[in-house]
Symmetry: C2
Subunit: 82 residues, 2 copies
């Protein structure tokens, strides 16, 4: 099973890295850029559990370690491997 | 136009952050985790260009700034906004 997880800032939370990338792109001449948000993308390989179990386990991983749920939100999908 | 960009390490490139997350998850009791890769996820808002132009511009942004193409690969999709 492969979990594909996106962790992004909640709207309204300051994203200084995104702002830095935005300015850098403008400085390089990409004037069509109006905004940038920068988040994390994780792929987690899971073994020996069912898809139903994985749903709950991945949520638990995000809540405990992968996302700071005060300022970040997450979403994930599960894909079969093999 | 909204560009959704994933930047990930090429296979074979050392991913120490991914390894650290993998070990942390195992330490927390998530023994079903077999591997973790950690990448970047960017959303770039673009204004005043066509989808055809955006295709090329986003590729240029990735090559010039957003990805280190020696060790990272990228992929992106474009979505209409408004």
């Amino acid at each position: 099973m492969l979990a594909k997880i996106h962790v992004t800032f909640k709207s309204g939370v300051l994203d200084p890295q995104g702002k830095a990338v935005h300015h850098a792109l403008n400085d390089l001449g990409f004037n069509e850029v109006r905004g940038v948000t920068l988040g994390k993308y994780l792929e987690v390989r899971l073994d020996g559990i069912s898809e139903t179990e994985a749903q709950g386990r991945v949520r638990e991983m995000c809540d405990k370690l992968l996302a700071n749920t005060v300022i970040e939100s997450y979403r994930y999908t599960l894909e079969p491997t093999d």
